[in-house]
Structure formats: structure tokens, C-alpha cells
């Protein structure tokens, strides 16, 4: 139900963008992500992009998916 996946932005058209998850493409609404552009990665849930990921975020994700775990890098509460 809180299923969300990161996907790569292929084209942008105003409020919507076509994103790709390993070659599966879908149009999603990008209202919540300002200034999204081609090549960005966005987190997608139920047809909406919730946020944009930085290159470092994407890198960590890719490493996890490939099985090379990065060190735990945390923001902790103080």
C-alpha cells in the first residue's frame, strides 16, 4: 500500500512526466517535485512523483539492488 519505487525521468510535459523503471514506462504526475528534468530520478507512488533523489541517493539505491551494501550513512536525531 505504501509501495513506492524510484524511476528515471525520460520526458517531461508540464505537470506530468514519463518515467522508466528498468524499461517499464508510465506517465506520472510531477506536481510535487519542482523543476524536474530528464535524467532525474523520482520516487513514484500510485502515479505520483513524491520527491526527487540526488545522484548520491540513486547511487546508494543501485548499490543496494546490485548487492553491494554501502556503509550505513545516517542522519540521526539529536
Amino acid at each position: 500500500m505504501c509501495l513506492a519505487v524510484p524511476a528515471e525521468v525520460l520526458t517531461v510535459n508540464g505537470d506530468t512526466a514519463v518515467v522508466s523503471l528498468y524499461g517499464a514506462l508510465r506517465e506520472v504526475n510531477v506536481t510535487l517535485v519542482e523543476g524536474v528534468s530528464v535524467g532525474d530520478y523520482v520516487l513514484v507512488h500510485a502515479g505520483f512523483a513524491l520527491e526527487r533523489w540526488t545522484a548520491a541517493d540513486v547511487e546508494e539505491w543501485k548499490m543496494i539492488m546490485e548487492g553491494n551494501w554501502p556503509d550505513v550513512g545516517d542522519e540521526t536525531a539529536s
Binding site: 506536481t31 513524491l50 520527491e51 543496494i64 540521526t76
Partner: protein, 367 residues
């Protein structure tokens, strides 16, 4: 045996598991970690990680499945609407088989109701736009992850005068039930695995009260196998060191303050309301309802449906399962009268219900 059989990728996960086992031993007593997200429930089962954890560490599920915590009166209301002429029910697939008091949307569809499964609330707006003669009711079930999308759909319908698009909201917000659980005496929670995608929207800060006020260690974890292992490792480390803090394992997605844009659109379209959680009763300000300026899109007020509490199936213990008091296999109905084919309650029929997960993936005796 043949050569191509793989060695599982255990090098790093083995390190983490070893560390988890060491820390558990140092803690020296049983600890109970609760996750409160249906997607975490499924992820934990799919990775088979329960069997890999030390026996002293148990992972239990709380009220994290939005379908499961929705009381049967909501399904009854949806069914009642589906029986009215000219009404189209648009819903996420998860709700179709959930039993209401007497029937389900699946059964109503078989009897002729127009019930359509959609992937996104925007698909429901499109259905409404395509046929202005039908009154489309989108079943708005979910937590903060889903609320922004539904808010945008309402705003879009409102702005484009698609006034035959309405939402029957059962949206709920996560911190409130966790406060109830933390303050309650029933279940001993030694650490919370906080919801990963809800936190994308709310920020990890929304849950830090659990550590600050209640002294319970918290980690926001992602959904891959390694995320869960790291999250559990971080929780055990806190427990062993006697710390209680909010930590973020899912740092690639979750920020401390969350998504301002998503929070803002939720606040624009919805306002908090009291709402009933199966198993937990009415929790003040834990639900979201449409603001008055969007009344036209509010299915409950526009079509006069009431969401009154009714009885659940006799013997159904979903409420206890959702509170973490009862593990699914401990329910007397589990795998006897209650199975995915013949569900007595939502925990067995929702794709993320913990009973469904136990039944599908867990080791059980086949009859």
C-alpha cells in the same frame, strides 16, 4: 549437486546478521520490534529474514496496513453507494475482496455493480471526465504516502470542474496510533521500525516523539532486504547502548523534515478529523477529511452516507492482530475458518495484511 547452484549473496548480509546476533546476545533478553507498515510486513516475509534473526529478537506487525485498519462500516458505505444507479466505484485493488458486514465489492461487482480497479487516483478523475453522467466515487484509503496524490486529484478535479469525481475518505495519519501503542500497556515494544514512505512525506521528525517522550528506540527503514537488516541492526545497537533516538536508515529517501510540497497540498485539501481504527477504536485527529471548500468532492456528505461502527465477524481478531497483541498463527480462525479464499477479516485478504503474509509466506502446516 550441480555447479550452477548459487551461494546466496551473504557476504555483507552475513556481516550484518552476525552483528545482529552479537548485539542480541549482549542485550541478553528477548526484544520485540514492531513495524507499522504493511509494505514492511511483506518485505520482511519476502526476504525470509525472520528465520535468520536470533531467536531472542522478534518482529511483530502493528496497524500498518491501511486496508486492515479501516472498519467494515467503510466497506459497507462503499457497497451501499455501489448499489445506487449511475455510481462508479473506483478503487485500489486491495479493497476489492475485503469483507464488509454482509458483502464485498467483489461480490457486488458480480451482482452488477460498476467497480473498477485503478492504479492511481488520477485514473479515477479520468474516468469521471470521460463520462460526466456517472458519479465516480474514489475510495480514498491510505496513509500520508497516498494522501498527497489524492489531494492533487481532488484539486485537479476541482480546478477542471470535474464535479462528478468524489472521494470517500478513509485516509489516516500514522503518528497517532503509534502514540496509542507506545502509551498503552498491552504490547511491549522495544523498538519501532518506522514507516519508510510515510516518512518521506511527514519527515522522520513526525515520529521522533516516540524516542523523546516514550524512550523507545526508532529507526526509519527502507524496504529492501538490506534496509531491514540495517534497520534492525541500528535498533539493537540503540537498545544495547540504552539509547533511544530517531535514526534514519532509509537516508536515500527520507529527510528529517519530509516533503514540504506534499505536506502543503495535504493541508490545503484535507483537515484532521477523528476516525475509527479497527482494533484501536476512535483516535482523535488521526484521520483526514476534505475541507469544506471541496465539499462537492466529498462523497460522504454529498451522497449522505454514514460511517457508523458496526459489528465485525464473530470471532474475528483482526483488531488484536493490528495492535500487535496476537500473532496471526495464534488467532483461532487462522488457516481454519479464515483463509485468503474465505477471509473473515481484512488482515487475511489485504495484500499487506499480516495474516495474509503469514499464510502466504510463512511456515504453516497444510491441512
Amino acid at each position: 549437486m550441480w555447479e550452477t547452484k548459487p551461494r546466496p549473496k551473504r557476504e555483507s548480509s552475513a556481516d550484518l546478521l552476525a552483528h545482529i546476533h552479537q548485539t542480541a546476545q549482549a542485550i541478553g533478553r528477548a526484544v520485540q520490534l514492531m513495524e507499522v507498515c504493511g509494505t514492511h510486513t511483506v518485505a520482511a516475509f519476502r526476504s525470509g529474514l525472520r528465520d535468520l534473526l536470533p531467536p531472542s529478537v522478534s518482529l511483530i506487525s502493528g496497524p500498518g496496513c491501511p486496508v486492515c485498519v479501516t472498519p467494515p462500516s467503510y466497506i459497507d458505505a462503499a457497497i451501499e453507494l455501489s448499489r445506487r444507479p449511475g455510481v462508479t466505484i473506483a478503487t485500489f485493488g486491495d479493497l476489492v475482496r475485503v469483507p464488509g458486514t454482509f458483502s464485498s465489492l467483489e461480490q457486488e461487482r458480480a451482482a452488477g455493480a460498476d467497480v473498477r480497479v485503478v492504479y492511481s487516483p488520477m485514473d479515477a478523475v479520468a474516468i469521471a471526465r470521460e463520462d460526466p453522467t456517472r458519479r465516480v466515487v474514489f475510495l480514498g484509503v491510505g496513509f500520508e504516502t497516498t494522501a498527497p496524490g489524492i489531494a492533487l486529484a481532488v484539486r485537479s478535479a476541482n480546478g477542471n470542474m470535474v464535479d462528478n469525481f468524489t472521494v470517500l475518505s478513509a485516509l489516516k495519519t500514522m503518528p497517532a496510533p503509534m502514540r496509542v501503542l507506545a502509551a498503552g500497556e498491552e504490547v511491549k515494544v522495544d523498538g519501532f521500525i518506522c514507516p519508510g514512505h510515510v516518512s518521506v512525506v511527514t519527515g522522520a521528525s513526525a515520529f521522533s516523539f516516540l524516542a523523546e517522550e516514550f524512550g523507545i528506540p526508532c529507526v526509519v527503514a527502507g524496504f529492501e532486504d538490506i534496509d531491514l537488516l540495517r534497520g534492525i541492526d541500528m535498533l539493537l545497537a540503540q537498545i544495547a547502548e540504552g539509547r533511544s533516538r530517531m535514526e534514519i536508515e532509509y537516508s536515500r529517501a527520507v529527510r528529517w523534515e519530509g516533503s514540504r510540497a506534499a505536506q502543503s497540498v495535504i493541508a490545503e485539501v484535507f483537515e484532521p478529523c477523528d476516525t475509527e481504527w479497527r482494533g484501536l477504536g476512535v483516535i482523535p485527529d488521526s484521520g483526514l477529511k476534505l475541507r469544506p471548500q471541496f465539499a462537492e468532492h466529498n462523497a460522504a456528505s454529498r451522497f449522505g452516507v454514514e460511517l457508523t461502527s458496526r459489528h465485525t465477524s464473530v470471532g474475528c481478531r483482526c483488531g488484536d492482530v493490528l495492535r500487535g497483541v496476537l500473532a496471526p498463527p495464534e488467532c483461532p480462525l487462522f488457516d481454519s475458518r479464515c483463509t485468503p479464499a474465505t477471509p473473515m477479516g481484512p488482515c487475511m485478504v489485504s495484500s499487506e495484511g499480516s495474516c495474509a503474509a503469514f499464510w502466504r509466506y510463512g511456515k504453516r502446516r497444510r491441512k
